[in-house]
């Protein structure tokens, strides 16, 4: 364990978590060597923009904000692209990259989440996409060129956002999902139903309570069979059935994992000098695959890594779903409560109250999203 002061802070991942952390560290410390290691091309981009490419008329190239060389220069650090970490040796403070070892003083895991994939029989895999980074998005846009129809699997936040955006791009959109409404688990059913109505009015066709059984390419199109036997014809399938924090390498190295890589509010894993944040992390029991929590973690961890040990404090972090056909804002309730609902068509205001009558969460759709700021001031913080 003879790491020296000169060994770098190593950050694995150049997504929003990795780059934001690096930027926050550099605001406080210009000199400590930092090495960033990434499996992808290292371009800096804003992942939430991937599901608004058509609405904002941006191609994959236009969504790339800075190439890795520019990031390295701006932040005075090293970015190693297309470099896949294959193991961690916590005792020796070594990161393994195939045959090579890289010594770290502190190691930060910001390696994100994997898309959940299911095998769909029928041999249409070349037309089935999942989109969780800019490189995925580029491939998808390339194949989409000249096509007219897209079938989305999944009616969660990402599925609904892509559905809305593809409609804006002039595509015919089918949405297939096993749930009985949109955004299951995130909002009460009335709001999910409002989103289904809004997107349907915009032109989407929903096939709820069903799954894709088979997909085959015939005469250039994709013929899809659903679990109830219905057949649909489309050109491309996008699978947006969920994300799972990447934990495998951490598990192999003996770090405590649960749903994500387990860290406390100081973002420390169970091993000394190894930290985690972003989509891979389970922070004090919370797995939140959103930008606001990772920003809070990046600021806190930058403090700690530059010498002032800090703990993250999650405030109120409402999630906004970018579905202009029926916009949604939600602050999931903290604890158990009952929903009080006010509804006028797709405009729904759902407030969740605990047994003492305190507002503990809300979900809003349509016109009511305007109440987000005012309600956000009334609900409790995640950490008090």
């Amino acid at each position: 364990m003879n790491t020296t002061q000169r060994d770098p802070i190593v950050i694995v991942g150049t997504g929003l978590a990795g780059y934001t952390l690096a930027r926050e560290i550099r605001k406080l410390d210009k000199n400590t060597p930092i090495v960033m290691v990434t499996a992808d091309d290292g371009y800096s981009y804003s992942k939430p923009m991937l599901s608004t490419g058509f609405s904002k008329q941006k191609t994959a190239d236009e969504l790339a904000m800075a190439e890795p060389g520019k990031m390295a220069e701006q932040l005075s650090l090293i970015v190693r692209t297309f470099t896949v970490v294959t193991g961690i040796k916590p005792q020796q403070h070594l990161l393994e990259i195939n045959g090579e070892s890289l010594r770290y003083s502190k190691l930060v895991l910001a390696w994100g989440a994997d898309v959940i994939r299911i095998d769909i029989p029928g041999g249409a895999n070349e037309r089935i996409f999942s989109i969780n980074d800019l490189m995925d998005y580029r491939r998808f846009r390339d194949v989409l060129e000249g096509k007219k129809r897209v079938l989305l699997m999944g009616a969660g936040l990402i599925g609904c956002e892509f559905a809305n955006d593809l409609i804006a791009g002039g595509f015919e959109v089918d949405v297939v999902a096993p749930s009985d409404t949109a955004l299951p688990g995130l909002v009460p059913k009335v709001i999910g139903d409002a989103v289904v109505t809004g997107l349907t009015q915009a032109g989407a066709r929903f096939h709820l309570g069903r799954t894709v059984q088979e997909a085959a390419i015939q005469e250039g199109h994709v013929q899809v069979q659903l679990s109830d036997g219905e057949k649909l014809s489309t050109d491309l399938v996008v699978s947006a059935i969920g994300l799972r924090p990447r934990v495998k390498l951490a598990d192999d190295a003996g770090l405590t994992i649960n749903k994500g890589v387990v860290v406390n509010r100081a973002l420390e894993t169970s091993e000394a000098d190894i930290y985690a944040l972003g989509d891979c992390a389970e922070v004090d029991g919370h797995v939140m695959l959103y930008v606001m929590p990772l920003m809070a973690c990046a600021r806190t961890l930058a403090q700690t890594l530059t010498g002032s040990q800090s703990e993250v404090k999650y405030g109120v972090m409402p999630v906004v779903v970018k579905t202009p056909a029926c916009p949604v804002a939600v602050a999931p309730p903290i604890g158990e409560g009952e929903w009080k609902i006010e509804q006028n068509g797709i405009d729904v205001k759902a407030e969740c109250y605990d047994a003492n009558g305190a507002l503990i969460g809300f979900a809003l759709s349509g016109q009511f999203v305007d109440a987000r700021q005012q309600l956000a001031r009334q609900v409790p913080s995640v950490h008090d």
Partner: protein, 54 residues
């Protein structure tokens, strides 16, 4: 002078302070911020900002 907040990451653009790092002078009203300006923290566009009620 008003404040505008990024709904994705929470960053606040305060008109009275502008955003000098990006060449936006103090006192620049939101409508005069260039339309291609991106959130300095999370990179989303101006459309993803909302006025903050005080």
């Amino acid at each position: 002078m008003k404040k505008w907040q990024c709904v994705v990451c929470g960053l606040i653009y305060d008109e009275s302070k502008g955003w000098p790092e990006d060449g936006i002078a103090a006192g620049t009203a939101w409508e005069d911020v260039p339309s291609d300006w991106l959130c300095p923290d999370c990179g989303v566009g101006k459309e993803d900002f909302e006025m903050v009620e005080m």
